[in-house]
Subunit: 155 residues, 3 copies
Amino acid sequence: MANLSQLMENEVFMAFASYTTIVLSKMMFMSTATAFYRLTRKVFVNPEDCAGFGKGENAKRYLRTDDRVERVRRAHLNDLENIVPFLGIGLLYSLSGPDLSTAILHFRLFVGARIYHTIAYLTPLPQPNRALAFFIGYGVTLSMAYRLLKSKLYL
Amino acid sequence: MANLSQLMENEVFMAFASYTTIVLSKMMFMSTATAFYRLTRKVFVNPEDCAGFGKGENAKRYLRTDDRVERVRRAHLNDLENIVPFLGIGLLYSLSGPDLSTAILHFRLFVGARIYHTIAYLTPLPQPNRALAFFIGYGVTLSMAYRLLKSKLYL
Amino acid sequence: MANLSQLMENEVFMAFASYTTIVLSKMMFMSTATAFYRLTRKVFVNPEDCAGFGKGENAKRYLRTDDRVERVRRAHLNDLENIVPFLGIGLLYSLSGPDLSTAILHFRLFVGARIYHTIAYLTPLPQPNRALAFFIGYGVTLSMAYRLLKSKLYL
Protein backbone atom coordinates (compact mmCIF):
# COMPACT_ATOMS: atom_id res chain seq x y z
CA MET A 1 0.00 0.00 0.00
CA ALA A 2 3.04 2.25 0.38
CA ASN A 3 3.01 3.36 -3.22
CA LEU A 4 -0.68 4.20 -3.20
CA SER A 5 -0.33 6.66 -0.37
CA GLN A 6 2.73 8.04 -2.19
CA LEU A 7 0.60 8.58 -5.32
CA MET A 8 -1.94 10.58 -3.36
CA GLU A 9 0.84 12.52 -1.62
CA ASN A 10 2.09 13.69 -5.01
CA GLU A 11 0.87 17.27 -5.29
CA VAL A 12 0.32 17.31 -9.06
CA PHE A 13 -1.74 14.12 -8.84
CA MET A 14 -3.82 15.46 -5.94
CA ALA A 15 -4.50 18.65 -7.86
CA PHE A 16 -5.49 16.62 -10.92
CA ALA A 17 -7.83 14.53 -8.74
CA SER A 18 -9.50 17.62 -7.28
CA TYR A 19 -10.01 19.51 -10.54
CA THR A 20 -11.16 16.38 -12.38
CA THR A 21 -13.71 15.60 -9.69
CA ILE A 22 -15.04 19.14 -9.92
CA VAL A 23 -15.32 19.18 -13.71
CA LEU A 24 -16.92 15.70 -13.81
CA SER A 25 -19.43 16.74 -11.13
CA LYS A 26 -20.25 19.80 -13.25
CA MET A 27 -20.83 17.49 -16.23
CA MET A 28 -23.12 15.30 -14.13
CA PHE A 29 -25.16 18.39 -13.28
CA MET A 30 -26.16 18.54 -16.97
CA SER A 31 -28.21 15.35 -16.52
CA THR A 32 -30.15 17.03 -13.72
CA ALA A 33 -30.66 20.14 -15.85
CA THR A 34 -32.05 18.01 -18.71
CA ALA A 35 -34.41 16.19 -16.32
CA PHE A 36 -35.50 19.52 -14.80
CA TYR A 37 -36.42 21.04 -18.18
CA ARG A 38 -38.08 17.81 -19.37
CA LEU A 39 -40.33 17.73 -16.28
CA THR A 40 -41.15 21.45 -16.01
CA ARG A 41 -41.77 21.82 -19.77
CA LYS A 42 -43.37 18.38 -20.16
CA VAL A 43 -41.13 17.41 -23.07
CA PHE A 44 -40.38 13.70 -23.30
CA VAL A 45 -38.84 11.27 -25.71
CA ASN A 46 -39.96 7.90 -24.24
CA PRO A 47 -43.68 6.98 -24.05
CA GLU A 48 -43.19 5.42 -20.59
CA ASP A 49 -41.88 8.74 -19.23
CA CYS A 50 -45.12 10.64 -19.78
CA ALA A 51 -47.52 7.80 -18.94
CA GLY A 52 -48.41 9.66 -15.73
CA PHE A 53 -49.74 12.65 -17.72
CA GLY A 54 -52.63 10.82 -19.38
CA LYS A 55 -53.55 7.78 -21.42
CA GLY A 56 -52.94 7.03 -25.09
CA GLU A 57 -53.16 10.02 -27.43
CA ASN A 58 -53.37 12.37 -24.48
CA ALA A 59 -49.91 11.35 -23.30
CA LYS A 60 -48.43 11.21 -26.80
CA ARG A 61 -48.60 14.98 -27.23
CA TYR A 62 -45.77 15.26 -24.69
CA LEU A 63 -43.47 13.29 -27.01
CA ARG A 64 -41.89 16.34 -28.60
CA THR A 65 -38.66 18.29 -28.79
CA ASP A 66 -37.96 21.60 -27.13
CA ASP A 67 -35.27 24.19 -27.89
CA ARG A 68 -34.17 24.53 -24.27
CA VAL A 69 -33.93 20.77 -23.66
CA GLU A 70 -31.94 20.30 -26.89
CA ARG A 71 -29.61 23.14 -25.89
CA VAL A 72 -28.82 21.48 -22.54
CA ARG A 73 -28.24 18.19 -24.32
CA ARG A 74 -25.85 19.79 -26.81
CA ALA A 75 -23.93 21.39 -23.95
CA HIS A 76 -23.77 17.98 -22.23
CA LEU A 77 -22.46 16.24 -25.35
CA ASN A 78 -19.87 18.99 -25.86
CA ASP A 79 -18.75 18.41 -22.26
CA LEU A 80 -18.35 14.69 -22.94
CA GLU A 81 -16.39 15.33 -26.14
CA ASN A 82 -13.96 17.63 -24.33
CA ILE A 83 -13.75 16.20 -20.81
CA VAL A 84 -12.95 12.65 -22.00
CA PRO A 85 -9.68 13.78 -23.68
CA PHE A 86 -8.87 15.91 -20.61
CA LEU A 87 -9.42 12.88 -18.38
CA GLY A 88 -7.12 10.60 -20.35
CA ILE A 89 -4.42 13.07 -21.36
CA GLY A 90 -4.54 14.89 -18.01
CA LEU A 91 -4.07 11.67 -16.04
CA LEU A 92 -1.04 10.63 -18.07
CA TYR A 93 0.34 14.18 -18.02
CA SER A 94 0.01 14.25 -14.21
CA LEU A 95 2.00 11.04 -13.96
CA SER A 96 4.75 12.33 -16.28
CA GLY A 97 6.22 14.58 -13.60
CA PRO A 98 5.33 18.09 -14.79
CA ASP A 99 6.13 21.25 -12.88
CA LEU A 100 3.49 21.78 -10.14
CA SER A 101 2.60 25.38 -10.95
CA THR A 102 2.43 24.69 -14.72
CA ALA A 103 0.18 21.70 -14.11
CA ILE A 104 -2.16 23.61 -11.81
CA LEU A 105 -2.36 26.44 -14.34
CA HIS A 106 -3.46 23.90 -16.97
CA PHE A 107 -6.09 22.35 -14.69
CA ARG A 108 -7.50 25.70 -13.52
CA LEU A 109 -7.75 27.06 -17.04
CA PHE A 110 -9.51 23.93 -18.26
CA VAL A 111 -12.04 23.75 -15.42
CA GLY A 112 -12.71 27.49 -15.62
CA ALA A 113 -13.15 27.33 -19.40
CA ARG A 114 -15.62 24.42 -19.18
CA ILE A 115 -17.70 26.16 -16.49
CA TYR A 116 -17.71 29.32 -18.59
CA HIS A 117 -18.65 27.24 -21.66
CA THR A 118 -21.71 25.88 -19.85
CA ILE A 119 -22.80 29.36 -18.74
CA ALA A 120 -22.26 30.72 -22.27
CA TYR A 121 -24.24 27.83 -23.79
CA LEU A 122 -27.18 27.85 -21.41
CA THR A 123 -27.71 31.61 -21.01
CA PRO A 124 -27.00 31.88 -24.07
CA LEU A 125 -24.30 34.56 -24.27
CA PRO A 126 -23.56 36.02 -27.72
CA GLN A 127 -20.66 34.56 -29.64
CA PRO A 128 -17.64 34.46 -29.44
CA ASN A 129 -18.10 33.75 -25.69
CA ARG A 130 -18.81 30.05 -26.17
CA ALA A 131 -16.25 29.63 -28.94
CA LEU A 132 -13.60 31.25 -26.74
CA ALA A 133 -14.43 29.00 -23.78
CA PHE A 134 -14.27 25.97 -26.07
CA PHE A 135 -10.89 26.87 -27.55
CA ILE A 136 -9.29 27.61 -24.16
CA GLY A 137 -10.22 24.13 -22.91
CA TYR A 138 -9.17 22.59 -26.23
CA GLY A 139 -5.82 24.40 -26.17
CA VAL A 140 -5.09 23.32 -22.59
CA THR A 141 -5.66 19.65 -23.49
CA LEU A 142 -3.51 19.94 -26.63
CA SER A 143 -0.77 21.61 -24.61
CA MET A 144 -0.72 18.68 -22.15
CA ALA A 145 -0.76 16.20 -25.06
CA TYR A 146 2.21 17.98 -26.66
CA ARG A 147 4.16 17.98 -23.38
CA LEU A 148 3.42 14.28 -22.93
CA LEU A 149 4.39 13.19 -26.44
CA LYS A 150 7.52 15.33 -26.40
CA SER A 151 8.85 13.86 -23.14
CA LYS A 152 7.52 10.30 -23.11
CA LEU A 153 6.93 9.12 -26.66
CA TYR A 154 7.18 5.33 -26.86
CA LEU A 155 5.63 3.79 -29.97
CA MET B 1 8.11 -2.66 -11.79
CA ALA B 2 7.72 -3.16 -8.03
CA ASN B 3 5.16 -0.45 -7.62
CA LEU B 4 3.02 -1.65 -10.51
CA SER B 5 2.59 -5.09 -9.03
CA GLN B 6 1.85 -3.35 -5.71
CA LEU B 7 -0.89 -1.32 -7.38
CA MET B 8 -2.55 -4.46 -8.68
CA GLU B 9 -2.12 -6.13 -5.29
CA ASN B 10 -4.18 -3.38 -3.70
CA GLU B 11 -7.61 -4.90 -3.17
CA VAL B 12 -9.65 -1.72 -3.71
CA PHE B 13 -7.85 -1.09 -6.99
CA MET B 14 -8.34 -4.68 -8.15
CA ALA B 15 -12.05 -4.47 -7.35
CA PHE B 16 -12.29 -1.16 -9.23
CA ALA B 17 -10.54 -2.75 -12.20
CA SER B 18 -12.94 -5.71 -12.25
CA TYR B 19 -16.18 -3.73 -11.90
CA THR B 20 -15.03 -1.08 -14.38
CA THR B 21 -14.15 -3.71 -16.97
CA ILE B 22 -17.61 -5.28 -16.53
CA VAL B 23 -19.53 -2.02 -16.83
CA LEU B 24 -17.47 -0.88 -19.84
CA SER B 25 -18.03 -4.25 -21.55
CA LYS B 26 -21.76 -3.82 -20.92
CA MET B 27 -21.59 -0.39 -22.53
CA MET B 28 -19.77 -1.86 -25.54
CA PHE B 29 -22.62 -4.35 -25.91
CA MET B 30 -24.88 -1.40 -26.80
CA SER B 31 -22.96 -0.94 -30.08
CA THR B 32 -23.73 -4.55 -30.98
CA ALA B 33 -27.39 -4.07 -30.05
CA THR B 34 -27.61 -1.01 -32.31
CA ALA B 35 -25.98 -2.90 -35.18
CA PHE B 36 -28.33 -5.86 -34.61
CA TYR B 37 -31.49 -3.72 -34.81
CA ARG B 38 -30.16 -1.73 -37.77
CA LEU B 39 -29.52 -4.91 -39.74
CA THR B 40 -32.66 -6.89 -38.78
CA ARG B 41 -34.97 -3.87 -39.21
CA LYS B 42 -33.08 -2.47 -42.21
CA VAL B 43 -32.80 1.00 -40.72
CA PHE B 44 -29.70 2.90 -41.74
CA VAL B 45 -28.31 6.37 -41.55
CA ASN B 46 -25.43 6.21 -44.07
CA PRO B 47 -26.07 5.59 -47.77
CA GLU B 48 -23.02 3.30 -48.00
CA ASP B 49 -24.48 1.03 -45.29
CA CYS B 50 -27.51 -0.01 -47.32
CA ALA B 51 -25.83 -0.14 -50.73
CA GLY B 52 -26.14 -3.94 -50.59
CA PHE B 53 -29.95 -3.74 -50.47
CA GLY B 54 -30.40 -2.18 -53.87
CA LYS B 55 -29.36 0.66 -56.15
CA GLY B 56 -30.24 4.36 -56.01
CA GLU B 57 -33.81 5.13 -54.88
CA ASN B 58 -34.37 1.49 -53.96
CA ALA B 59 -31.64 1.69 -51.32
CA LYS B 60 -32.58 5.17 -50.13
CA ARG B 61 -35.81 3.95 -48.55
CA TYR B 62 -33.74 2.23 -45.85
CA LEU B 63 -32.36 5.62 -44.76
CA ARG B 64 -34.89 6.14 -42.00
CA THR B 65 -35.22 6.24 -38.23
CA ASP B 66 -36.77 3.58 -36.06
CA ASP B 67 -38.09 3.78 -32.49
CA ARG B 68 -36.21 0.73 -31.31
CA VAL B 69 -32.86 1.79 -32.79
CA GLU B 70 -33.24 5.28 -31.31
CA ARG B 71 -34.07 3.75 -27.93
CA VAL B 72 -30.87 1.69 -27.92
CA ARG B 73 -28.90 4.76 -28.96
CA ARG B 74 -30.39 6.84 -26.13
CA ALA B 75 -29.53 4.08 -23.64
CA HIS B 76 -25.98 4.03 -25.04
CA LEU B 77 -25.57 7.81 -24.71
CA ASN B 78 -26.95 7.70 -21.17
CA ASP B 79 -24.34 5.03 -20.38
CA LEU B 80 -21.58 7.26 -21.74
CA GLU B 81 -22.82 10.27 -19.75
CA ASN B 82 -22.80 8.26 -16.52
CA ILE B 83 -19.93 5.82 -16.93
CA VAL B 84 -17.38 8.51 -17.86
CA PRO B 85 -17.76 10.28 -14.46
CA PHE B 86 -17.67 6.89 -12.71
CA LEU B 87 -14.44 6.05 -14.56
CA GLY B 88 -12.67 9.25 -13.60
CA ILE B 89 -14.02 9.75 -10.08
CA GLY B 90 -13.91 6.02 -9.28
CA LEU B 91 -10.26 5.73 -10.31
CA LEU B 92 -9.21 8.64 -8.13
CA TYR B 93 -11.43 7.44 -5.28
CA SER B 94 -9.81 3.97 -5.47
CA LEU B 95 -6.38 5.56 -5.17
CA SER B 96 -7.39 7.70 -2.18
CA GLY B 97 -7.31 4.74 0.20
CA PRO B 98 -10.98 4.14 1.00
CA ASP B 99 -12.25 1.32 3.22
CA LEU B 100 -12.42 -1.90 1.14
CA SER B 101 -16.00 -2.89 1.99
CA THR B 102 -17.30 0.67 1.45
CA ALA B 103 -15.55 0.86 -1.90
CA ILE B 104 -16.90 -2.50 -3.06
CA LEU B 105 -20.42 -1.49 -2.00
CA HIS B 106 -20.09 1.62 -4.19
CA PHE B 107 -18.82 -0.37 -7.21
CA ARG B 108 -21.48 -3.09 -6.87
CA LEU B 109 -24.32 -0.61 -6.55
CA PHE B 110 -23.11 1.34 -9.58
CA VAL B 111 -22.63 -1.67 -11.85
CA GLY B 112 -25.95 -3.20 -10.72
CA ALA B 113 -27.78 0.09 -11.26
CA ARG B 114 -26.37 0.54 -14.79
CA ILE B 115 -27.28 -3.03 -15.81
CA TYR B 116 -30.77 -2.49 -14.40
CA HIS B 117 -30.95 0.85 -16.23
CA THR B 118 -30.25 -0.88 -19.55
CA ILE B 119 -32.90 -3.54 -18.89
CA ALA B 120 -35.43 -0.88 -17.85
CA TYR B 121 -34.65 1.20 -20.95
CA LEU B 122 -34.69 -1.58 -23.54
CA THR B 123 -37.67 -3.63 -22.30
CA PRO B 124 -39.06 -0.88 -21.57
CA LEU B 125 -40.19 -1.17 -17.96
CA PRO B 126 -42.68 1.43 -16.69
CA GLN B 127 -41.29 4.40 -14.79
CA PRO B 128 -39.92 4.92 -12.16
CA ASN B 129 -37.77 1.83 -12.84
CA ARG B 130 -35.37 3.62 -15.17
CA ALA B 131 -35.34 6.83 -13.12
CA LEU B 132 -34.52 4.84 -9.98
CA ALA B 133 -31.68 2.97 -11.71
CA PHE B 134 -30.32 6.27 -13.01
CA PHE B 135 -30.38 7.98 -9.60
CA ILE B 136 -28.70 5.06 -7.79
CA GLY B 137 -25.76 5.19 -10.21
CA TYR B 138 -25.71 9.00 -10.01
CA GLY B 139 -25.77 8.96 -6.20
CA VAL B 140 -22.94 6.43 -6.00
CA THR B 141 -20.71 8.61 -8.20
CA LEU B 142 -21.56 11.76 -6.22
CA SER B 143 -20.84 9.91 -2.97
CA MET B 144 -17.35 8.97 -4.24
CA ALA B 145 -16.80 12.56 -5.46
CA TYR B 146 -17.78 13.91 -2.04
CA ARG B 147 -15.44 11.48 -0.24
CA LEU B 148 -12.60 12.44 -2.58
CA LEU B 149 -13.03 16.20 -2.29
CA LYS B 150 -13.45 16.01 1.49
CA SER B 151 -10.22 14.05 2.03
CA LYS B 152 -7.93 15.20 -0.78
CA LEU B 153 -8.90 18.69 -1.90
CA TYR B 154 -5.91 20.48 -3.41
CA LEU B 155 -6.77 23.49 -5.56
CA MET C 1 7.91 10.81 -6.10
CA ALA C 2 9.89 7.59 -6.52
CA ASN C 3 6.93 5.51 -7.53
CA LEU C 4 5.67 8.05 -10.02
CA SER C 5 8.88 8.04 -11.97
CA GLN C 6 8.79 4.24 -11.77
CA LEU C 7 5.31 4.24 -13.30
CA MET C 8 6.51 6.29 -16.24
CA GLU C 9 9.60 4.10 -16.59
CA ASN C 10 7.36 1.10 -17.12
CA GLU C 11 7.46 0.46 -20.85
CA VAL C 12 3.90 -0.87 -21.20
CA PHE C 13 2.55 2.16 -19.37
CA MET C 14 4.62 4.58 -21.47
CA ALA C 15 3.38 2.91 -24.66
CA PHE C 16 -0.21 3.14 -23.39
CA ALA C 17 0.32 6.83 -22.60
CA SER C 18 1.69 7.53 -26.09
CA TYR C 19 -1.00 5.67 -28.06
CA THR C 20 -3.80 7.03 -25.88
CA THR C 21 -2.60 10.59 -26.34
CA ILE C 22 -2.52 10.05 -30.11
CA VAL C 23 -5.99 8.53 -30.34
CA LEU C 24 -7.51 11.18 -28.05
CA SER C 25 -5.90 13.94 -30.11
CA LYS C 26 -7.39 12.34 -33.21
CA MET C 27 -10.80 12.39 -31.51
CA MET C 28 -10.37 16.06 -30.63
CA PHE C 29 -9.70 16.77 -34.31
CA MET C 30 -13.33 15.81 -34.97
CA SER C 31 -14.48 18.95 -33.13
CA THR C 32 -12.38 21.05 -35.47
CA ALA C 33 -13.77 19.19 -38.49
CA THR C 34 -17.34 19.85 -37.31
CA ALA C 35 -16.58 23.55 -36.78
CA PHE C 36 -14.89 23.72 -40.21
CA TYR C 37 -17.92 22.29 -42.03
CA ARG C 38 -20.38 24.37 -40.00
CA LEU C 39 -18.54 27.57 -40.94
CA THR C 40 -17.78 26.82 -44.60
CA ARG C 41 -21.27 25.43 -45.28
CA LYS C 42 -23.05 27.93 -43.02
CA VAL C 43 -24.96 25.25 -41.16
CA PHE C 44 -25.71 26.08 -37.54
CA VAL C 45 -27.80 24.80 -34.70
CA ASN C 46 -27.72 27.73 -32.26
CA PRO C 47 -29.25 31.12 -33.21
CA GLU C 48 -26.34 32.97 -31.54
CA ASP C 49 -23.84 31.19 -33.83
CA CYS C 50 -25.18 32.70 -37.04
CA ALA C 51 -26.04 36.15 -35.66
CA GLY C 52 -23.12 37.53 -37.68
CA PHE C 53 -24.73 36.44 -40.98
CA GLY C 54 -27.76 38.69 -40.74
CA LYS C 55 -30.65 39.77 -38.56
CA GLY C 56 -33.85 37.90 -37.66
CA GLU C 57 -35.33 35.77 -40.43
CA ASN C 58 -32.25 36.32 -42.57
CA ALA C 59 -30.07 34.55 -39.99
CA LYS C 60 -32.62 31.85 -39.20
CA ARG C 61 -32.20 30.22 -42.59
CA TYR C 62 -28.74 29.04 -41.50
CA LEU C 63 -30.34 26.98 -38.69
CA ARG C 64 -30.44 23.74 -40.66
CA THR C 65 -28.85 20.33 -40.85
CA ASP C 66 -26.34 19.15 -43.41
CA ASP C 67 -25.34 15.63 -44.43
CA ARG C 68 -21.63 16.28 -44.14
CA VAL C 69 -21.85 17.92 -40.71
CA GLU C 70 -24.05 15.08 -39.41
CA ARG C 71 -21.57 12.54 -40.79
CA VAL C 72 -18.66 14.13 -38.91
CA ARG C 73 -20.80 14.23 -35.75
CA ARG C 74 -21.67 10.53 -36.07
CA ALA C 75 -17.99 9.67 -36.54
CA HIS C 76 -17.19 11.74 -33.44
CA LEU C 77 -19.85 9.99 -31.34
CA ASN C 78 -18.64 6.60 -32.53
CA ASP C 79 -15.14 7.61 -31.45
CA LEU C 80 -16.42 8.52 -27.99
CA GLU C 81 -18.33 5.25 -27.67
CA ASN C 82 -15.23 3.23 -28.51
CA ILE C 83 -12.36 5.28 -27.11
CA VAL C 84 -13.90 5.57 -23.62
CA PRO C 85 -13.84 1.75 -23.09
CA PHE C 86 -10.31 1.64 -24.52
CA LEU C 87 -9.24 4.36 -22.09
CA GLY C 88 -10.61 2.58 -19.01
CA ILE C 89 -9.87 -1.02 -19.94
CA GLY C 90 -6.53 -0.15 -21.53
CA LEU C 91 -5.32 1.72 -18.44
CA LEU C 92 -6.18 -1.17 -16.12
CA TYR C 93 -4.75 -3.68 -18.60
CA SER C 94 -1.48 -1.70 -18.76
CA LEU C 95 -1.22 -1.85 -14.97
CA SER C 96 -1.90 -5.60 -14.85
CA GLY C 97 1.59 -6.45 -16.08
CA PRO C 98 0.99 -7.74 -19.63
CA ASP C 99 3.73 -8.82 -21.99
CA LEU C 100 5.23 -5.71 -23.65
CA SER C 101 4.99 -6.87 -27.27
CA THR C 102 1.41 -8.17 -26.80
CA ALA C 103 0.37 -4.89 -25.22
CA ILE C 104 1.94 -2.78 -27.97
CA LEU C 105 0.25 -4.95 -30.60
CA HIS C 106 -3.11 -4.23 -28.94
CA PHE C 107 -2.46 -0.48 -28.78
CA ARG C 108 -1.20 -0.24 -32.37
CA LEU C 109 -4.13 -2.21 -33.76
CA PHE C 110 -6.64 -0.09 -31.85
CA VAL C 111 -5.16 3.27 -32.84
CA GLY C 112 -4.72 2.15 -36.47
CA ALA C 113 -8.31 0.84 -36.59
CA ARG C 114 -9.78 4.08 -35.20
CA ILE C 115 -7.80 6.24 -37.65
CA TYR C 116 -8.94 3.98 -40.49
CA HIS C 117 -12.52 4.17 -39.15
CA THR C 118 -12.44 7.96 -39.37
CA ILE C 119 -11.08 7.87 -42.92
CA ALA C 120 -13.69 5.28 -43.94
CA TYR C 121 -16.50 7.33 -42.35
CA LEU C 122 -15.54 10.74 -43.71
CA THR C 123 -14.53 9.80 -47.27
CA PRO C 124 -16.90 7.71 -47.23
CA LEU C 125 -15.40 4.40 -48.32
CA PRO C 126 -17.81 1.61 -49.32
CA GLN C 127 -18.70 -0.95 -46.68
CA PRO C 128 -17.35 -3.18 -45.17
CA ASN C 129 -14.39 -0.81 -44.70
CA ARG C 130 -15.95 1.07 -41.79
CA ALA C 131 -17.48 -2.07 -40.24
CA LEU C 132 -14.10 -3.81 -40.38
CA ALA C 133 -12.32 -0.86 -38.75
CA PHE C 134 -15.00 -0.78 -36.04
CA PHE C 135 -14.74 -4.50 -35.27
CA ILE C 136 -10.93 -4.49 -35.09
CA GLY C 137 -11.02 -1.74 -32.46
CA TYR C 138 -13.89 -3.47 -30.67
CA GLY C 139 -12.09 -6.83 -30.66
CA VAL C 140 -8.88 -5.31 -29.31
CA THR C 141 -10.75 -3.74 -26.36
CA LEU C 142 -12.61 -6.99 -25.64
CA SER C 143 -9.35 -8.92 -25.79
CA MET C 144 -7.82 -6.63 -23.14
CA ALA C 145 -11.00 -6.90 -21.02
CA TYR C 146 -10.83 -10.69 -21.21
CA ARG C 147 -7.15 -10.73 -20.22
CA LEU C 148 -7.89 -8.41 -17.31
CA LEU C 149 -10.87 -10.34 -15.94
CA LYS C 150 -9.09 -13.67 -16.34
CA SER C 151 -6.02 -12.61 -14.39
CA LYS C 152 -7.32 -10.09 -11.87
CA LEU C 153 -11.00 -10.74 -11.15
CA TYR C 154 -11.94 -9.46 -7.70
CA LEU C 155 -15.68 -9.03 -7.12
